[in-house]
Amino acid sequence: MSLVYFTVARKSYAGNLQYRWAHMANNVGSFVFGLLYISFWVALFRQPSAAETGLSELGYSAQVMRGYIAVAQVTLWVTFFASPGLLIGRLIRTGEISMELARPVDFFLYTIAKEAGRLYYGLVHRSLPMLLMFALTVGFPRPASVVCALGYAAAVLIGAYNTLCMNYLVGATGFWTKDITWAHRLLYSAAYSLAGTMIPVEIYPSALGRIAQYLPFAAQCYYPVEIYLGLRSLPYLLIGLAWGAALTVVCRKVTALGRRRLEVQGG
């Protein structure tokens, strides 16, 4: 039975291949964003007031941030950029949702398997080229240790899974309201900042900085990067894992409710 999901993922990967040249152009754009963020941090640490910010005590410096941004930009393509609402909204609008729900597979697993294939495509055709671009120019850091590298791999899987669940929930709101672009844009913006894509979340002021470290968004980028660089130890993976488990439960419940709603309401 699990073979079905693997096949679905594989087909999704293959389907994305035809766009790889367009995506190359996009990669360059992303790379420029990375350069921008790196320039931002380098300039910040050049400030005379940099020493008083307390950031070096936390382990940050211009050099560290160079590495942080590079790893973050590479990681994002697997752990962050998923299809909006996993395209469930589109299925609902076109009415295909009834057909998809009627398939003899678990809708939740099926939907995330489709997206997983796309994320794998992102790994090969976006993350790896980006890694090369960074390595050949401003430099891409080595993992702090073998343990850190393995921890990173685990963190990436956990982060990707959380992203899939969160996008799934956004898409699932489409069972109840027609317009989900709202929900998606809100989540996307919040997530992008709270995931620590440009600013390590612990640096955010006061309460926000403290809370953000325990939100699921942190698992999308912040923890993978920090574990890779050796700034955080492996036990922090548990935060992402806990959220993954919780989100799974919510997703399954929402699917059941959504299914029932559709059966009552019609397409």
Binding site: A22, S193, L208
Partner: protein, 265 residues
């Protein structure tokens, strides 16, 4: 030209009227998208405050950079949305429908849609700009006269983004799809313009002063207006440069259009 402006005003009025019919949704989207952008900026500002300044630009000055850049781009995406989405016209063959009308297709694209739904973005950016400007005027970093020139900068910025977008759309005559190219030509440069361009490596800075001249939208004018050392004539130079850029872009567009006339879709 006059008839175009009259037709365009009618389009704006009628689009707003249509959007207002779904009043709640319109207001919600506008406020919502505005808030999102605002919150993003606030988080960045918080970090900036910790460092006090970046490359000599304090938080309020960076807020001004951010506001003017986002407002210029936001205004363009509202007014010229169809240029931004030009590849749809190439993919569907809809460009042909434009070519049978008596105006240049570029003006038709402008007049095709006024994206009232996007107005939240420039609105929140303008709020940030005004708040930052007020604070800077009070603290003496910005003279009231200079502050009065900021709207002119934003208008100039909108024209620059229009130019970049038209140039990108023209490339579509050869590649058909341009949305991925736009990440490089519009999305990345406009984000870069939210920060002082001096933080960027030389080659990138040069690029953003020439081929994708977002430096004209806010950085260069503000170097003078905020008293950071640029001479007064940098302002007319920026305006002239925008005009020159638009002329070049217009020529490029005509060249692309001729290519389309020759080879079709």
């Amino acid at each position: 030209m006059k008839e175009f402006l009259r037709a365009y005003c009618l389009l704006v009025a009628t689009s707003l009227r249509s959007a207002m019919q779904y009043r709640f949704s319109f207001v919600a989207t506008t406020v919502g998208s505005g808030l999102i952008g605002l919150v993003d900026f606030l988080m960045l500002a918080a970090v900036l405050l910790r460092f006090k300044a970046i490359d000599g630009w304090n938080v309020y000055e960076v807020a001004l950079l951010y506001g003017t850049s986002a407002a210029a781009l936001g205004l363009f995406r509202t007014l010229g949305s169809q240029i931004y989405e030009f590849d749809a016209y190439l993919v569907n063959g809809e460009l042909d429908s434009l070519l049978v009308r008596p105006w240049d297709p570029l003006f038709l694209l402008l007049a095709r849609k006024f994206d009232a739904g996007r107005i939240g973005q420039p609105m929140h950016a303008l709020i940030v700009t005004v708040l930052a400007a007020v604070h800077l005027v009070r603290s003496g970093a910005l003279s009231p006269l200079a502050a009065a020139l900021i709207p002119l900068c934003i208008v100039n910025g909108t024209l620059v983004y229009a130019g970049i977008s038209i140039a990108t759309a023209t490339v579509g005559f050869w590649t058909t799809r341009i949305d991925d190219l736009q990440t490089i030509t519009i999305y990345a440069p406009s984000t870069a313009a939210e920060y002082p361009l001096s933080i960027l490596p030389g080659w990138l800075r040069g690029l953003l002063h020439t081929i994708l001249p977002v430096a004209l939208t806010n950085y260069l004018p503000l170097l003078y207006l905020l008293g950071k050392g640029a001479p007064w004539y940098i302002l007319p130079v920026c305006l002239a440069a925008t005009g020159f850029y638009l002329v070049l872009v217009w020529r490029f567009w005509q060249y692309g259009l001729r290519k389309y006339n020759s080879t079709g879709s």
